[in-house]
């Protein structure tokens, strides 16, 4: 048996990766799993050796006519986005880039995006990363290679381990290959902007926009500088201008909206919101809180944050808090959960009620019996 302690492992095939994990299992070597290392939040990981997935790279199948793409887990996200863009398609879930707020460097991989279930503003309409993910291959903590799901978008054959792996932060298995349902890239886009609304009024206008038939694909509010409230519309040319105007008209009683049609400006606005740019600062803890959209303003009111903004109609609240602040105590009583994306002194993930915690531990014990994959990360 080879002792892996202190090494950085860079397998280049799934078989090699499985072999490495098997030997780590035999030796009880705790592995830190790294894609691009750009999303390194989570509780501290017990690390004897580092396992890098970057060697497993490349798009293995892209069928634009079937809206499906399959790639090895270490493939740079940018490569995938470029391949899709060349065919006028995109990943539906708009994964955020964590480098800005975390100050990390490196190249985000598709496996990393899946491991944290990274989902941006379009999540409201198109679902999270886990909703677009239709297949996985992964290696368990015992070094077994498992496949689940596949490359077709309708598949109910057996249990859905695909969703279970999304957002499991490398604690249930090392992803080696992921398949997605993709979408046509919208031909046109428009963004409505309201200025000067209070948080409560802004979230009300976002709810009204989402209740409209106009197929809104982004709904956010940034209270900075007096407040800007954004609603995004995407689709075919004529359809977008029609819907933007109809929406502005229907919501006129809440205040007049400016309609932005400049594509570059729109991309910049939503990329900024996606990457939590309104919170960017050297100091302070960064939290991400998931609640019922209408509860968003109550979270911000109770949190006492240095800065905050809302995505997902108010259902995703980003907060920058004084270092070490016990956010969960302050917002206790509002249903949902909080994740510490940057900072120390608090548990990163929301503690779970007993039956859920027991089931989760049970799953982890089956997928990684010796606790060697990103050990401690999700506790």
């Amino acid at each position: 048996m080879t002792d892996l302690t202190g090494t950085v492992l860079t397998p280049e095939t799934e078989d090699e990766l499985a072999k490495v994990v098997r030997s780590a299992h035999d030796n009880r070597t705790a592995l830190q799993i790294r894609g691009g290392g750009t999303r390194d939040f989570g509780n501290e990981v017990r690390t004897d050796a580092v396992l890098q997935t970057g060697g497993l790279s490349g798009i293995t199948l892209y069928d634009p006519g079937a809206l499906t793409l399959v790639a090895r887990a270490g493939t740079p996200l940018a490569d995938i986005e470029a391949a899709l863009a060349a065919e006028g398609q995109m990943l539906p879930f708009e994964p955020m880039d964590h480098r800005g707020i975390l100050g990390t460097t490196g190249t985000p991989t598709i496996g990393g995006a899946v491991a944290v279930n990274a989902s941006g503003p379009r999540r409201l309409k198109a679902g999270a990363c886990r909703d677009s993910l239709i297949g996985v291959r992964f290696v368990t903590g015992e070094g077994e290679i498992i496949k689940n799901g596949g490359r077709v978008m309708k598949n109910v054959t057996g249990y859905d381990l695909v969703k279970l792996l999304a957002g499991s932060y490398g604690t249930l298995g090392v992803l080696t290959e992921v398949s997605f349902k993709v979408l046509p890239r919208p031909q046109a886009t428009a963004t409505l902007v309201w200025q000067g609304l209070s948080d409560v009024d802004a979230v009300a206008i976002l709810a009204a926009a989402m209740r409209s038939p106009y197929d809104v694909s982004g709904a956010a509010h940034d209270p900075a500088d007096g407040g800007r409230t954004y609603v995004r519309i995407e689709g075919l040319d004529q359809s977008v201008s029609y819907r933007a105007q109809a929406l502005a008209r229907d919501l006129a009683s809440h205040g007049a909206a400016e309609i932005i049609a400049d594509a570059a400006q729109i991309t910049a606005i939503w990329a900024g919101l996606r990457d939590a740019e309104p919170l960017r600062a050297e100091q302070g803890d960064i939290w991400r809180v998931s609640v019922k959209p209408s509860d968003g303003p109550a979270v911000v009111a109770a949190a006492g944050a240095e800065a905050a903004f809302y995505d997902w109609q108010g259902g995703l609240v980003w907060l920058r808090m004084p270092q070490g602040a016990a956010l969960r105590e302050r917002i206790d009583g509002i249903a949902g959960h909080a994740t510490l994306i940057r900072g120390t002194g608090q548990r990163v993930f929301q503690p779970m009620p007993m039956p859920i915690a027991r089931l989760s531990q049970g799953l982890r014990a089956r997928f990684d019996p010796r606790d060697i994959l990103n050990s401690g990360k999700m506790i």
Partner: protein, 482 residues
């Protein structure tokens, strides 16, 4: 299809079990006479029947928990049941099992339009969920053809789809949270009105677990604002290949229709005979539906028309009115009924990559000649979910077996070209023994371990989804413990 031998020791204790169930449920909620339990002997896969030991109809989560606690203590298998419309035998009982029906749990618990969700008890039918919100401009998107009858419980268990899931996704993409009772009788809450639950995505694995992980009693469902309007266009072609290519081209062009339905000649002819839909004489027919305002619909349909025109269609019929839309859909909606008028049929449900459509249809025709049974196709082409209907004669000895063998070959073909055994109907007993085709032992073992976590005693719907030889060890432990 083989089912495990019932446990005689459990059957011998029936009176004792019934007495215990009667202590926690009203009298009429425990069904145990030989006559009455027969109502629960099968689901919509009617070729397989077996009356259960008893059936219970609890009216709330607490009663469900009480029933499960008793069955757990007594070591009695439980088969959850919604409306019994499963096409894969998911709700088929064994003679030593209790059917737990959720039909009495049919209330709407909460509607919240600002946050766009509805919370219901899971015995509620799919269509009546939309019924509860449509007057306010909302709908629940997953729309199985059985929506008038099937329950949300079954939809969650099977991760059901429908004609409109190309745009809106299937059940799992529209499910926000559940209240579920474990086999031990513990009530757990997973997810809720917020978008992403904390921790592992238990909701994701519960949805589609075919009643093997817990009994789902309440659900929080995403509701969506109704579009301003919707209209279909009918496109007729003189070959399946061309129709298949047209589907791919439409998708590549960046239009995302809400539905693309495909019918082949045998199906078109049956629809014509029984629904008089006025479909043209052709080999393959597509119905493509788009949504939006009138102007938006026109914009999308004109794009689709332009694409279809490059494929030399036999006919293109764009709906201009509600009445014309109805006429175009009439045949498609009557398809299953029409086929049923002609013959007994078995409805398959494999999915294939859309690009493999022409090949698969051609191979299916060859196999049809080989097995001597006709096959008709009507399916969701946009997502590659096929529904080949194999026609057979239930009264002719041996025909069912030939039909099943033919079906198995078609499903193997689906897997071979990169697809899967079932796109929306679930594995149940029907595809249980074919799971080896899609998964190896290790893949299956990982899924079994998930069940071990939720239901260590293997009492919930134990004879489904996985090949019996694969689950034998786990089921036997349960039986000897009982």
């Amino acid at each position: 299809m083989q089912m495990p031998d019932p446990n005689a020791m459990i059957i011998a204790r029936k009176a004792h079990l019934v007495a215990r169930l009667q202590q926690v449920l009203p009298e009429d909620a425990v069904i145990h006479s030989d006559n009455e339990v027969r109502a629960y002997e099968c689901d919509a896969l009617t070729a397989y029947k077996c009356p259960p030991l008893a059936a219970v109809l609890p009216a709330n989560t607490a009663e469900v928990a009480a029933v499960l606690r008793i069955c757990h203590e007594e070591g009695v298998p439980v088969v959850p049941r919604g409306s019994g419309t499963s096409l894969s035998g998911g709700a088929l009982p064994t003679a030593d099992a209790v059917i737990l029906g959720v039909a009495k749990l049919s209330d709407v618990l909460e509607t919240d339009y600002d946050n766009r969700f509805i919370r219901v008890q899971t015995g509620r039918t799919n269509l009546s969920v939309t019924g509860a919100v449509e007057q306010d401009g909302f709908f629940y998107a997953p729309d199985p053809s059985s929506q008038l009858a099937c329950a949300i419980a079954g939809n969650i268990a099977m991760n059901s789809g429908g004609a409109h899931c190309l745009k809106y996704g299937v059940t799992t993409n529209n499910l926000l949270g559940v209240t579920m009772v474990t086999m031990e009788g513990e009530v757990i809450e997973v997810g809720g009105a917020h978008l992403d639950a904390a921790g592992y995505d238990l909701l994701g694995v519960i949805c589609g677990s075919e009643g093997q992980l817990g009994v789902v009693t309440e659900a929080t469902l995403r509701i969506i604002a109704q579009p301003e309007g919707a209209r279909p266009i009918m496109l007729a072609f003189d070959s399946n290949e061309v129709a298949g290519a047209c589907v791919s081209d439409i998708i590549r062009a960046g239009v995302l229709p809400v539905a693309i339905e495909f019918m082949d000649r045998p199906c078109i002819q049956a629809c014509e005979r029984f629904a008089k839909a006025g479909y043209p004489e052709c080999e393959a027919l597509l119905i493509v539906e788009v949504e939006g305002s009138d102007a938006e619909i026109d914009e999308q349909l004109s794009k689709i028309t332009a694409i279809a025109a490059t494929h030399n269609p036999v006919e293109m019929r764009e709906s201009k009115s509600e009445a014309e839309s109805k006429a175009i859909w009439a045949g498609r909606k009557a398809a299953f009924g029409a086929m049923g008028q002609i013959n007994d049929y078995m409805c398959l449900d494999g999915t294939i990559p859309v690009s493999e459509l022409p090949l698969v249809l051609r191979r299916m025709r060859e196999m049809s000649a080989q097995f001597g049974l006709d096959v008709a196709n009507v399916f969701h082409a946009g997502d590659g979910n096929m529904h080949p209907l194999i026609l057979f004669d239930a009264n002719k000895p041996g025909d069912l077996e030939i039909c099943e063998a033919f079906g198995a070959e078609i499903l193997k073909l689906c897997v071979e070209v990169g697809g899967c055994l079932t796109g929306e109907h679930g594995v149940g007993i029907e595809k249980r023994d074919l799971m080896h085709v899609q998964f190896n032992r290790v893949d299956l073992e990982m899924q079994l371990r998930v069940k071990d976590v939720f239901d260590p005693g293997w009492l919930l719907n134990p004879a489904k989804v996985f090949p019996l030889d694969v689950t034998e060890g786990r089921r036997i432990i349960r039986q000897t413990a009982a």
